[in-house]
């Protein structure tokens, strides 16, 4: 291991030297590093190349700073002197690394740096830019980056509630695609269509969005040709970056989409350079197919198998909103012959429960439908609550559609068991304790309703002190959840970081 470390350090030294010679390029690369990290918060820098850059940028920060002025002052240093300097630095770093190793444990918990898991770098976590809207520097950097990638920036809409001034707020009436030129030269049309579908809510739901994303990427790969003198593995990743920024601007990426993108980037960068283009493309398409099949389709089957053990005859099951996974489970259980009835709880303004209601009624399941304000009336009849999840966070909190935490709270008060169904590819390394720090603000005009010919909130924009808040997600504390059913089995909420670690080691 020591020798491996030495080699790494040597490589680092060489790179640092290169940087020190071109001072400007170093600064630019650090900036682009930050922006790369903020653009794809859940995805790690794909190649060893950028990982190496990241490590010196974060950990031994004083060293490059001290190096930078020296060559500028004395450009005529002899080669021997430089070599001696290098060796001295190596020794110093080896000593410091040894000291650090003694202190730090063997954890792979820091998600950002891709250094080998035994070394714990003091990583400066780059916050995703979509939760730093109130910071003008971040906004400027984002604007510069988007300009470079030729993606138009989104103007937010309407008066924002002060509690959520750090988040973007979108309006459905002004999608990002209106600002694009036709034909779009930078963004692939399949991605443009996907972005529009996301922003208008045509494709909604965690699984649906990920699958749509992967299909769009398959189309992109099919239409891709490697330009001359470029390697497919590096160029394709660079091509994907503006697409991801664009999709992020249309609607912030979900945790499942983030994980899928990470996987694709890894697969692309692992393509050996001597591979022919056709074969490489075929391989990638195959990888994506396998991913969808394994992580989504087969996972759903496994989860259904586990859940059916938990559904008994005569059960009254409560579900909230429209979760493709929970609907699948209920349909499977019904086909297997279990006798139960379902209560579908819905909430304004999205009213997704009606879609779930339609699907269940079509299969012949007897259903009841209520709004979320009536949940404490209907809960004494309920025997189990099944909830879907958007993501499972590393501290055991369940991030899901807004209202889920409320249902779990009332169910707990009535002593009704709450089961959450979630595939493992939605597990996320973020931690969060409340629904404020990272959320999505949907179009506030959705809350407006016309009853008996009167629309009370029609002119809400004109009134200064009136604000509408349309949240999309909320987090449920783990003490409200009794069981999480995943494709790996049935685990308690607190075992999520264990699963994440096992997955990381496997990869």
């Amino acid at each position: 291991e020591l020798t491996k470390e030495e080699k790494q350090r040597l490589r680092k030294e060489k790179k640092q030297q290169k940087k020190n010679k071109e001072k400007k390029d170093e600064k630019a690369s650090r900036e682009s590093d930050k922006e790369k990290k903020s653009a794809a918060p859940a995805s790690q820098p794909p190649t060893q190349h950028t990982a190496q850059k990241a490590v010196p940028a974060s950990a031994p920060v004083p060293l490059p700073a001290s190096e930078a002025p020296v060559p500028a002052d004395k450009p005529a240093k002899s080669k021997a002197e430089l070599k001696a300097e290098r060796r001295a630095r190596q020794e110093a770093e080896r000593a410091s690394k040894q000291g650090k190793k003694g202190e730090v444990g063997q954890q792979a918990a820091t998600g950002k740096a891709k250094a080998p898991p035994s070394e714990l770098q003091p990583v400066v976590k780059r916050l995703p830019e979509h939760i730093q809207v109130d910071n003008p520097d971040v906004l400027k950097k984002l604007a510069k980056k988007l300009e470079r990638q030729q993606v138009c920036i989104y103007v937010y809409y309407g008066y924002k509630v002060s509690l959520f001034s750090h988040l973007h707020q979108y309006s459905r009436k002004a999608p990002l695609t209106q600002q694009l030129s036709i034909p779009s030269t930078v963004i692939h049309p399949a991605i443009v269509r996907l972005g529009l579908q996301y922003s208008q809510g045509i494709v909604a739901g965690s699984n649906a969005r990920s699958v749509a994303l992967l299909h769009a990427f398959k189309q992109v790969i099919r239409d891709y040709t490697t330009p001359p003198k470029e390697e497919l593995s590096r160029d394709l990743v660079n091509k994907l970056k503006p697409y991801i920024s664009f999709l992020n601007q249309c609607r912030p990426l979900s945790a499942s989409m983030g994980n899928a993108i990470k996987y694709i980037k890894k697969e692309i960068s692992n393509i050996p350079s001597q591979c022919k283009e056709e074969e490489a493309k075929r391989k990638l398409l195959n990888c994506i197919e396998c991913y969808i099949n394994e992580k989504i389709v087969l996972a759903a089957k496994a989860i259904a198998k586990y859940s059916i053990e938990k559904i008994s005859d005569g059960d009254v099951i409560l579900v909230y909103g429209c979760s493709s996974l929970v609907n699948h489970i209920l349909c499977e259980a019904f086909e297997k012959g279990r006798k139960f009835r379902v209560i579908v709880v819905d909430s304004r303004p999205r009213l997704e429960g009606r879609e779930a209601l339609r699907r269940l009624v079509q299969r012949g399941i007897s259903c009841t439908y209520v709004l979320i304000s009536a949940v404490s009336y209907i809960l004494p009849e309920v025997s189990k609550v099944f909830l879907g999840a958007h993501a499972l966070l590393a501290n055991g909190y369940v991030m899901s559609r807004v209202g889920t935490s409320q249902i779990a709270l009332v169910a707990k008060a009535f002593n009704v068991p709450v089961l959450v169904c979630c595939e493992t590819y939605k597990f996320c390394e973020r931690v969060q304790t409340d629904s404020f720090v990272s959320n999505e603000l949907d179009d506030p005009d959705d809350l407006i309703v016309t009853r008996k010919g009167k629309t009370q909130l029609e002119d809400w924009q004109k009134v200064d002190s009136l604000g509408l808040l349309n949240l999309v997600y909320d987090v449920t504390p783990p003490d409200f959840v009794d069981l999480v059913i995943t494709d790996l089995g049935m685990i308690p909420c607190t075992s999520v970081p264990v699963v994440l670690r096992v997955k990381n080691v496997d990869q």
């Binding site: 509630v161 002060s162 509690l163 909430s347 304004r348 303004p349 009606r354 209601l357 339609r358 009624v361 007897s366 259903c367 009841t368 439908y369 209520v370 709004l371 979320i372 304000s373 009536a374 949940v375 404490s376 009336y377 209907i378 559609r401 807004v402 209202g403 935490s405 409320q406 709270l409 009332v410 008060a413 409340d434 629904s435 404020f436 809350l447 309703v449 009853r451 008996k452 009370q456 909130l457 809400w460 009134v463 200064d464 002190s465 009136l466 604000g467 509408l468 808040l469 349309n470 949240l471 909320d474 987090v475």
Partner: protein, 354 residues
């Protein structure tokens, strides 16, 4: 000889009854509870003045009979029943005063009285007193003045409970809470979050009205109540009825709000004037809940699936007294455990069942 109601008294009573029946479609009261209370009391005063009766017992019979009709017209509007019981109590008191007995001895039964007096304590209010009518009408007038001032009395206490830079949460629309918050906004700056309370969305009206008074208001969907609760300092709500055990019968969604407040240890304050206090208990399952047309929840445009699903649209929620921190009424602030005592001062136990 029992008293009788004249013909010319019948039409205002009938008008009132049909008003009650119409107003209860659940889409939000056509008039607030305070108005209903005032109208009931005014009607009772009229009955007292114009009906033919010779003794207190007759009058009480008439009022009970008309009262029963009013209550059956709209069972969920409990203020009607409360006012009737108040007036009956007034009649008893005036009668006792006319007989010369001090008020305390004719109070409700105590264990001591049961043992020492032996048998029913008294007359059935059959004695005739000439001044009784005038006294009763005067007392009812006092009651009416009290009713007129309730909202102001509650709102006057606002500054004691709201400090500046607070975030206050409320649900639906309550005129008492609106007056309460507007009164506090004259001196303090704070932020109000209103849960819209689907499907009737009365929260929207509340928000518009509060923002016109210059209060920073935010409207949220019902589903976001728990999500934003961590940032809320106080929850102030109104209610339809205060039950005898200190619990509430409030608009649906209030129980969830109360549970969320309990989870975050946020105080829950109920602004309820005294005429909302009712001697009912929540155990009567079939009389507690009221349902309205399910097309508010699943409109008829949904078509084919309508015939295959059950849809419920309850109007009220039960909130147990353990979740409530404080009641603010026109006579001051009380803990939920004190409500039973207030009730015994307002109503006579024999009137609990009309």
């Amino acid at each position: 000889f029992t008293g009788a109601v004249h013909g010319f008294l019948l039409s205002p009573i009938e008008a009132f009854l049909s008003d009650l029946k119409r107003g209860g479609s659940g889409t939000g009261p056509l008039r607030g509870s305070a108005e209903t209370a005032r109208e009931t009391t005014a009607l009772l005063r009229r009955i007292t003045a114009q009906a033919r009766w010779s003794s207190a017992g007759d009058l009480m019979e008439i009022i009970r009979k008309e009262g029963r009709r009013m209550i059956t017209a709209q069972p969920s509007e409990t203020t009607v029943g409360n006012m009737i019981r108040r007036v009956l109590k007034i009649i008893r008191e005036e009668y006792a005063r006319s007989r010369g007995k001090s008020e305390e001895t004719d109070q409700q039964e105590s264990l001591h009285k049961l043992l020492t007096s032996g048998g029913l304590s008294e007359d059935n209010f059959r004695q005739h007193f000439a001044a009784l009518k005038a006294n009763v009408i005067e007392a009812i007038n006092e009651l009416l003045t009290e009713l007129e001032g309730t909202t102001d009395n509650v709102a006057m206490q606002a500054l004691e409970h709201i400090h500046s830079n607070e975030v206050i949460m409320t649900i639906g629309r309550s005129r008492t809470v609106e007056a309460f918050l507007k009164d506090a906004a004259r001196k303090r700056k704070f932020h109000v979050i209103v849960a819209e309370c689907a499907p009737f969305c009365q929260g929207h009206e509340m928000a518009t009205s509060l923002s016109e008074a210059g209060i920073e208001t935010t409207v949220i969907a019902d589903a976001a109540i728990f999500a934003v609760m961590s940032r809320v300092n106080k929850v102030i709500i109104g209610t339809q009825t205060v039950l005898a055990n200190g619990g509430l019968r409030a608009v649906n969604g209030t129980h969830t709000l109360a549970l969320a407040a309990k989870h975050h240890s946020t105080p829950l304050i109920v602004c309820a004037p005294m005429f909302k206090l009712s001697p009912q208990f929540p155990n009567e399952e079939d009389t507690f809940h009221k349902f309205v047309s399910p097309h508010e929840v699943l409109p008829f445009t949904e078509g084919e699936i309508l015939s295959k699903v059950n849809v419920h649209c309850p109007v009220f929620d039960y909130v147990p007294p353990e979740l409530i921190t404080l009641f603010i009424s026109n006579i001051g602030g009380h803990a939920p455990s004190y409500i039973y005592r207030l009730m015994s001062e307002l109503y006579h136990p024999e009137d609990h069942e009309l």
